[in-house]
């Protein structure tokens, strides 16, 4: 699949600002003024943000971009508090200035033709599937979206996606909403039903792996957005090893932030991740 080319390209490093913040279930949604980033953004790329008092940067998927708003160009991110950095981010009030670099990494590759696509996302990592769905619909693709989570609080709302997606399926591990179970339990069935040529997946490794395997069984392409800790996010430190099989069949370790985060599902050496 060819890379989509647009201008302007490449990441920028800007001083952004929190312009809106809202708790949704277990997550904190932040809207960040981030001049220069929305016009460069492609679904699946991410941003690296600076967290006060921390040397390593924090990677965040981009849930939505707006080229213009009352605050200029903005982007939305979904933060799940996991450690000190995400706790800091979630606690920032409107007005906090935050250095943002992005968009970073390889985005989801888009199909040349109007094919059928299955999008599978779990937890906050489903975020980049929403702009992807829009983009695919613009290209005339039939989009089936699966949003999964351990429970309702960790489910990204699929409401807005109903415009871009032909079908939306909700899965929760505890069955609190939608179908009970996880992606591995349902992915083959969902793939068969959607008759997809391409599977896009975002979420923990177990979700990505099951989606990639299902795609392979069904003879479909897969593109997975892998999360590996990314100390810089910009390709400078080589601290984000992603073990893959190269096009030449040779085992390699690439940088998840630069040669990833999105890679072909059949290329990932899952056992070495």
């Amino acid at each position: 699949m060819p890379e989509e080319r647009g201008t302007p390209a490449g990441p920028v490093h800007v001083e952004g600002e929190v312009v809106a913040t809202k708790r949704v279930g277990a997550y904190r949604h932040l809207t960040l003024a981030a001049p220069g980033i929305p016009e460069r953004f492609r679904a699946g790329s991410f941003v690296a943000v600076t967290v006060a008092g921390h040397v390593a940067r924090r990677a965040l998927w981009v849930h939505r971009v707006r080229g213009s708003s009352a605050f200029g160009p903005t982007l939305d991110v979904v933060v799940q508090v996991q450690g000190s950095g995400t706790a800091w981010l979630a606690a920032q009030p409107v007005g906090t200035r935050i250095a943002i670099t992005g968009p970073l990494g390889r985005a989801f590759a888009l199909p040349k033709e109007a094919v059928s696509c299955l999008l599978v996302g779990e937890g906050y990592a489903a975020a980049p599937l929403f702009p992807l769905a829009e983009r695919l619909r613009e290209r005339g693709c039939a989009v089936s979206l699966v949003v999964s989570a351990p429970d309702e609080a960790h489910l990204l709302s699929a409401l807005e996606a109903r415009r871009s997606a032909r079908s939306v399926t909700v899965l929760t591990a505890d069955g609190s909403v939608g179908q009970r179970g996880g992606v591995p339990d349902h992915v083959d069935e969902l793939l068969r039903r959607s008759d997809a040529d391409v599977v896009y997946a975002a979420g923990p490794a177990v979700v990505l792996r099951s989606a990639a395997a299902a795609a392979e069984r069904a003879g479909a392409w897969s593109q997975v957005a892998v999360e590996v800790p990314t100390p810089c996010g910009t390709g400078l430190c080589h601290g984000c090893p992603l073990p893959v099989v190269g096009e030449d069949g040779v085992d390699r370790v690439v940088r998840a932030c630069t040669e990833g985060p999105v890679v072909r599902g059949d290329r990932v050496r899952w056992d070495h991740l």
Binding site: G10, P11, V12, H13, T50, H54, V55, A56, R57, A99, T101, V228, P229, P231, C232, T234, G235, L236, C237, H238, G239, C240, P241, R252, V253, T258
Partner: protein
């Protein structure tokens, strides 16, 4: 040998080894002139390709990072064929960091790099924080470092600089700097990441603002004892104040590593302020 005969000291702001990716990744964060004229040290290049160590390779700690990246690099040949020409075309002044398991490997690297067009100079990595783990030639005593420098110097043209990059170990730094300078190093880079460990005890190196006072002490001691040996400060430089502390302590320049990982524009910002000063200050000749 006088330093003047061994190439001139780069500076005042350089990209430290291993913190500039392949160089290309810095382009989006450079100023209008791109990488033109940028003093860039490559990540350490070995004769053969290395895929690097397992994850986690880089872990955050208070004030810095602990890393055991394992020198991932494509090997000399591939580097010469692809990365170097790109950097040279982009106008960077490329200092190739070399690392080897034996003295012979260092000599070999130097010989082959001496013939590669566009190499501005070499930096010899003789103070990695975990040489044994990285499979590098072990520098236990200053004379070990000096013999590596001598071996490199023999193979590399005297009009181009060879930098000796040492550990910021106060009990040996003065002796190490003296020995390396006598062996032909144009300048001494003080220093590398500090030997450290991950929380699980795995050997690693500590870098970032946390180590700045350590590297600064070493620079100050070298400058006090050996005012004629040019030093380049490296360790925790992240803003103008931290860069100036090294220059005030006698360093001719600074290298920026970890700070680039936090803010990739750091070198461009520091250069904007420090380069004009530097160009108007007549270079001292020892």
């Amino acid at each position: 040998m006088s330093a003047a005969r061994l190439g001139s000291v780069p500076g005042p702001v350089m990209v430290a080894a291993g913190c500039g990716g392949t160089g290309r990744e810095l382009l989006p964060y450079a100023d209008q002139s791109g990488l033109d004229g940028l003093d860039l040290v490559t990540r350490s290049i070995t004769l053969d390709a290395r895929s690097g160590g397992p994850g986690p390779r880089v872990v955050e700690v208070p004030g810095g990072l602990v890393n055991a990246v394992g020198l991932p690099n494509p090997g000399l040949e591939h580097f010469l064929a692809t990365e170097l020409p790109w950097l040279v075309r982009a106008g960077a002044r490329v200092f190739v960091s070399v690392a080897g398991a034996t003295m012979g490997e260092y000599a070999d690297l130097a010989r082959r790099l001496s013939r590669a067009p566009g190499v501005a100079g070499l930096e010899v990595n003789v103070g990695a924080p975990d040489e044994a783990g990285a499979g590098l030639f072990e520098v236990r005593e200053p004379y070990h470092a000096a013999s590596v420098i001598a071996a490199v110097r023999r193979e590399f043209p005297t009009d181009r600089p060879v930098l000796a990059k040492l550990r910021p170990d106060v009990s040996r730094i003065v002796e190490g700097a003296r020995a390396c300078h006598e062996a032909g190093a144009t300048a001494v880079v003080v220093g590398n990441a500090v030997p450290a460990a991950f929380a699980d005890g795995r050997p690693a190196g500590l870098s970032g603002p946390a180590i700045s006072p350590i590297a600064l002490r070493c620079v100050a001691e070298v400058h006090r004892a050996l005012p004629d040996v040019p030093t380049i400060g490296c360790g925790g430089v992240h803003d103008l104040a931290s860069a100036r502390a090294f220059l005030d302590a006698g360093a001719r320049g600074v290298q920026v590593g970890t700070a680039l990982l936090n803010d990739p524009t750091t070198v461009a910002r520091l250069r904007a302020v420090l380069l004009p000063d530097h160009l108007t200050t007549p270079e001292e000749t020892p």
